[in-house]
Amino acid sequence: MLRTKQISGDLLKLQKEIQGYADDYGLDYFPQVFEMCDYDTINILAAQGGFPKRYPHWKFGMDYDQMSKGYRYGIQKIYEMVINSDPCYAYLLEVNNWLDQKLVMAHVYGHNDFFKNNMWFSNTNRKMMDVMANNGSKIRRYMDLYGVDRVENFIDQVLSLENLLDINHLFETSEVVQSRKEKEKKFLEEQDNGGYLVDDRSQALKSFMRSKSRSENDRSTDENSHENDIEIMAEKNVVKGQRDILKFLIEFAPLEEWEANIIGCLREEAYYFLPQRITKIMNEGWASYWHSTIMNNKAMDSSEFIEFADKHAGVMAMSKQQINPYKIGIELFRDIEFRWNTGRFGKEYNECTNMVEKENWDLKTNQGREKIFTLRKSHNDISFIDEFLTPEFCNRMKIFTYKYNPRSKRMEIDSRDFAAIKQKMLTQLTNFGSPVIEIEDPNYKNRKELLLTHVHYGVDLDMEFAAKTLNNLFKIWKRPVNIATKYEDKEVILAFDGKEMKAVS
């Protein structure tokens, strides 16, 4: 069932042309494949996160429903979609006109270059299409074996926890894991060889514990050892502070094999998408910078100018409710290019107090292009904003922060102060916009209850959602689950024991 087809003829010629421009500018990309599809197909693909084959789940159906309606009623239209893979696949919409296709192609080369070069993507699986398809057939097989409802319900529960990831795992390559394991082993051996623990427990207890921990490897499927694992882990404080909740559950929750496998699949997919979530501003900014540069300087025909301006402006529209990543991204890249072209950086410039001199500062350093090429390799949104956001830029972009005013019951503009804006933006980007949740104690109250901590940076959790999420977590952990957080400045522990939800303060 082939729903997309590779482009040919004039479009292929166009691709060659755009690719030539990309080469001229020094973009470094994976082989690029463009496929053409109709609007229904692009809705399907968009609903499935860009991938032609996913596991069966109703949420894809829901997204598809909304996308098709959005398209039918003319509310939204998907221009393009590009997948982080090698070769890099991108989809073009059949009904788009020539200018659209040109613009999209130029934009896609920007994304492609970013995927290939940004270090946060360096460990993503570039054959993810195959992995997704395999996960799909694996889960389909489980559905045949254990029933569609059962498997789908379990997926619902896991998806509830899908955002509890640890971005440090993006650099967890197999070599890193290997070397860490070796170190751990060495440490344990040292303990065995008369290495002593600095506590005052009896020698007998220590050796008992050691024998337990040794046996955990070869008896990991055993029910008893599972419980012992938890005790040992709690004892050693090994899992405390772990943010990769899904991995923790795979290792320590009482799961059947297929359940653990499904968590594994979904975790893999979640980590694949994670780099895109932490580089939204940069990625879109970079791609927009290049479509704008390529179109303006090379690819555009003079007759297309007005339409291009209109399309570009539509993409760059500012919104009062939220920062448009395309807009902030492209402007920040341009700002950086300008600053490094004119030498407006470093001690001398920063400490200059003569405003006239500062305004006309130009050392003709011309390092702008080079600078942005370098930083697109190493930064993510947080470090990008942290390092390059300037008061002048915020002023020019008319950025403000807003907050809820309980008296008037509406969102109101709060501040245009640079420090406040930067603080707000960074807070929102922290941990890809999700609350930071850590494992606190897998043997809470010494009853194998699970205690999580929400590391509170000033924003409360949505309590209704938290309660529902705990409910799902309980179904996986199968013992009472708790989360410690703050609500309206009070410390609370939200506890769910399978029957009722309690807030203990």
Partner: protein, 371 residues
């Protein structure tokens, strides 16, 4: 083969239906939420079915935006002011309303399941007949547009084989005039059943907006159920104070008169309508009467009971009376009816509707008999 996402889509729709079933009581008591769209489709607004996650509360989070404005100016723009083009307006915006579409049959089925409504056994079945043409057979004559190529070639092949001119090595099959086959229609007689619902409502001063709202909601669901049970359904509306007149749907729910109340006037008009338009032997007739229970005189009530006994009851499937509680209504008519017919009488169904929350139970009382 369809794309697998269609299966995900079907599953999603099933979940939506389940959601709707769980919240049916809320939908019904809040009325007005279900918007008819076209002749047999409805649009139902529904809060998005989110997968619960640990996430930040909307209000304490706040955010940052771009644009003009002083400190303290409201940020909430018009919903359409989001990002046009490629931007994903909506991500992190929270409450997105989901709109689902549903057919009459699906919606009625949910209502039926929830209330455990029995299927209606229509009377007068096989009385009305209509003919339907279905292209189920094959003929030797017909227009080119109905030519059945496969059958035609089969005939040609048979003829060639039997005449010995068919050569398997050079399998040319050429149909001639008498090989041609055409799709042809079979005429079938289909039995139909038809129903008429006659709504009568007291629009005198004592019936307020809230009472009418209840009647409107209730009639919507009753119509829906009956529509799913009968092939053809007609709906007539009668309003009355001291006199009665027939009106259209819109007027029915809008009119407010200030006069007194003579219920018999409506019953008389109802009788007249049935006599002129609907032969009780062929039609399933459902008279519904809604009032707050006030009637001017005991004499008039007597006339009403007389009319019911002599004409309305014998010719209808059932007679339903819904008494909507109002501050001014005495509720006397309900007492009179229940005194006469009690709860044993199958053809007269009485229901008291206290408030919007009672609508669902009242619908069950009316339709629970399966008549």
């Amino acid at each position: 083969m369809d794309h697998p996402i269609k299966r995900d889509h079907a599953r999603f729709k099933k979940i939506v239906k389940g959601k709707l079933r769980d919240n049916l009581r809320k939908y019904i008591s809040e009325g007005q939420q279900i918007i008819p769209k076209g002749s047999d489709q409805f649009k139902i607004p529904m809060p998005s079915i989110d997968i619960p996650r640990f996430k930040f509360g909307d209000k304490s989070e706040g955010g940052s935006g771009q644009g003009e404005g002083q400190e303290g100016d409201p940020v909430e723009g018009q919903p359409g002011e989001g990002e046009p083009g490629q931007g994903e307006a909506g991500e992190g915006e929270g409450k997105k309303e989901l709109e689902v579409e549903m057919s009459v049959d699906d919606l009625a089925q949910i209502l039926g399941d929830e209330l455990e409504l029995p299927k209606i056994e229509p009377k007068g079945k096989n009385k009305l007949s209509s003919t339907v043409d279905r292209y189920t057979s094959i003929g030797t004559v017909g227009p080119d547009s109905l030519k059945h190529l496969k059958r035609t070639y089969k005939e040609a092949l048979k003829r060639q084989v039997s005449m010995g001119v068919y050569d398997p090595k050079n399998p040319h099959v050429v149909p001639i005039r008498k090989d041609f086959r055409y799709r042809s229609a079979d005429t079938k007689i289909e039995m139909e059943n038809a129903a008429v619902v006659i709504y009568m409502m007291d629009v005198s001063g004592s019936m307020g907006e809230e009472q009418k709202e209840i009647v409107r909601t209730e009639s919507f669901w009753i119509n829906l159920w009956l529509k799913s049970q009968y092939k053809d359904i007609e709906i007539r509306y009668i309003i009355h104070d001291a006199t009665a007149k027939e009106v259209d749907e819109d007027t029915f729910f809008r009119t407010r008169e200030s006069g007194g109340t003579l219920i018999s006037s409506a019953f008389k008009l109802c009788k007249q309508i049935i006599e002129t338009d609907y032969n009780p032997a062929e039609w399933n007739i459902y008279p519904f009467h809604f009032s707050d229970g006030d009637n001017w005189s005991a004499d008039d009530t007597k006339t009403c009971l007389q009319l019911l006994d002599d004409f309305l009851l014998p010719c209808s499937n059932m007679f339903c009376y819904g008494q909507v509680e109002s501050r001014y209504g005495s509720g006397q008519f309900y007492k009179d009816l229940s005194q006469k017919y009690g709860s044993k009488h199958d053809d007269v169904i009485l229901s008291k509707i206290k408030n919007k929350d009672a609508i669902l139970d009242s619908i069950k009382e009316f339709l629970g008999k399966g008549k």
